[in-house]
Amino acid sequence: MSIDPETIKKERSTGWREALRAKTKNKDRIAVERVHMPELEPGIRVHHQDREVNRGLSLAQASLEATRCMDCVNPTCIEGCPVSINIPKFVKYIENGEVLQAAATLKETNALPAVCGRVCPQEKQCESRCFYVEKLNKPSVAIGHLERFAADFERESGSCNIPETLPPNGIKVATVGSGPAALAFAGDMAKFGYDVTVFEALHEIGGVLKYGIPEFRLPNAIVDFELENLRKTGVKFVTNFIVGRTATFDDLKDEGYQGFFIGSGAGLPRFMEIPGENYNGILSSNEYLTRVNLMGANSEDSDTPVLKGRNVAVIGGGNTAMDSVRTALRLGAERATIIYRRSEVEMPARIEEVKHAKEEGVEFMTLCNPVEYFADKNGRVNRMRVVRMGLGEPDTSGRRRPIVLEGSEFDLHVDLVIVAVGVSPNPLVPASLPALKVSRWGTIIVNEDNMQTSLPEMFAGGDIVRGGATVILAMGDGRRAAEHMHAFLETKRT
């Protein structure tokens, strides 16, 4: 999915853009310091699971930050965006005081800008390709913060545009799952005039946005607002429904569904298969975060219990690990430690999450890996053995391969361990479709150009295809699938 360079050029040469560029000299733009995102004080926020850490930019802050952008002739930032948002255009709208236009620009290519502005790893995507980074060796324009600002501004203004939809064509299509990939797909198909139903196995819509990402990073109200917008465009939501189980794909075809988008996610948590890993008090980040985020186990009136630890170790270096360790602090841990087998440079987590975690008092034990767990007489973990690691040559992921340093074992006292070392694709859907082609890792094989699976009426995207990626990539898949399913169903009709 990309914008045609000619369009970008043409839009850049519109009068208002030229006038803006003429108004402020690049020298003065460069002189502006990158904005700092206002944050809740670490000492306060560690006591509140439900208070968002980043408070968002003010209009004045956003306008000033937007002036830093030089509206480059060759906007490489767009190349860094997985869904090719027309970044200079939306940033310049903010500079020009037309924030609702900025939001509309975001929505041309991004179904959930308020979400992406919060959870995208911008420093690895658009911001890494900013002229400031590539040529000036300065901090990039805060594209992520500005994206969030525009989306929040629009939501809070109450003048949210419901995208125009084509007249209903009466064709029923379904999504399997309700995470970012499925929601992006559903939004586009509704715009094309389809009768879209989103089927979700859990009792809440939103997938990882609800069960995975904590309230302090992505408030549920933000997700719910986007869901409400989808509802207004005619998308239907069905919870507690496992396609392939509750009813088969054939049952749904009999009910008139002509196309399916499988976005069932990477459900299965990985464990390390080391001795003692099944002791009580050792759980997957999925379990821990689901109990807290989806089931509200941190609140008094929830029936769902959650284990609280004094000495909590979280294994892994991704965003899920950061979400888990920061949740543990908010649930009262005295000591919360990240244990990661590589060094901080290789950590896949967003830089901001690592920064926030450190500010909150999370300890980082990098180049360390657990090898065994020990428990008390009731089977509750009380100690873990950790080995130190070194780094060798880069592996297939491009990161340096961790190597065990023999004889470097040491023990740590822990009473709660959260394993956040990745997930595998959920087998439920592929298992119900024997003819569907899957890889040896269990991911669904698609034609990458159009996201079509080996079964022509089925398209797939997100983690069930990629194995584990980001919200924005999942959404990009959903949108590409919608475009091509639309074309596919059109051809079938004629």
């Binding site: 049952d251 099944n278 689901t290």
Partner: protein, 276 residues
Amino acid sequence: MNKIVEKEYFSEKVVKIVVEAPQISRSRKAGNFVILRVGEKGERFPLTIAGADPERGTITLVVQTVGVSSTKLAALEPGDHITDLVGPLGQATHVEKKGTILAAGGGVGVAPMLPIVEAFKKAGNRVISVIAARNKDLIILEEQIRQWSDEVIIMTDDGSYGRQGLVTTGMEEVILREKIDECIVIGPAIMMKFAALLTKKYNIPTQASLNTIMVDGTGMCGACRVTVGGKTRFTCVDGPEFDAHQVDFDEMLMRLGGYRNEEKEAFDHFHHKCNH
């Protein structure tokens, strides 16, 4: 929301409910389970389906009150709705004609055993069922089990009904008497552990249906993990039935106690609220 259409007390603590769930009533197979949630603050928990009537569009569940969630479910009356119900989940029982099947059910385990016994009988097997409980009041579904069994042996701990003794006593008697081709055991983990030890002694292939802690029930959380043949498996997607001789029941028993303190706290809190 799924409406409860029927409710029957098997004993003070064991309740049978019939729930509207048209799609699940058609798609479920013997051995499948559902995940339920009662109330907006409710916990998700699994229950194995005890029966289904596709024409009426209902499924039957049997619940024993042990904690907050089961108490809340058992307190619902016909006409009330279960907030969330999803399924069918888990692998279905592998049913085929084997010869003679010995099915052993303990306590409320007899409820999920019923559809399995029915399926094996319908597949042309000779079925001998041993149903066991602490006392007469806790023996459930006897008539229904009889309908699909060639012989039923009832065991009670206190001898108040059937014969006195543990489920394994009844099982061993049958095993010594005739050739058993396969055993099915469903009940409390401790009962399944000893039943599995017994059939291992006699080298009879045995399936156990495990009831572990679960949150989502779709493979996502891993709370239900068990060690089977030295490998970690997920009860929700790989099970709930496993080769009983390979299951590490001691680990399973330990893991079932994983939230005991938290559950007790919640239960006390719940009672405190109910009494005020």
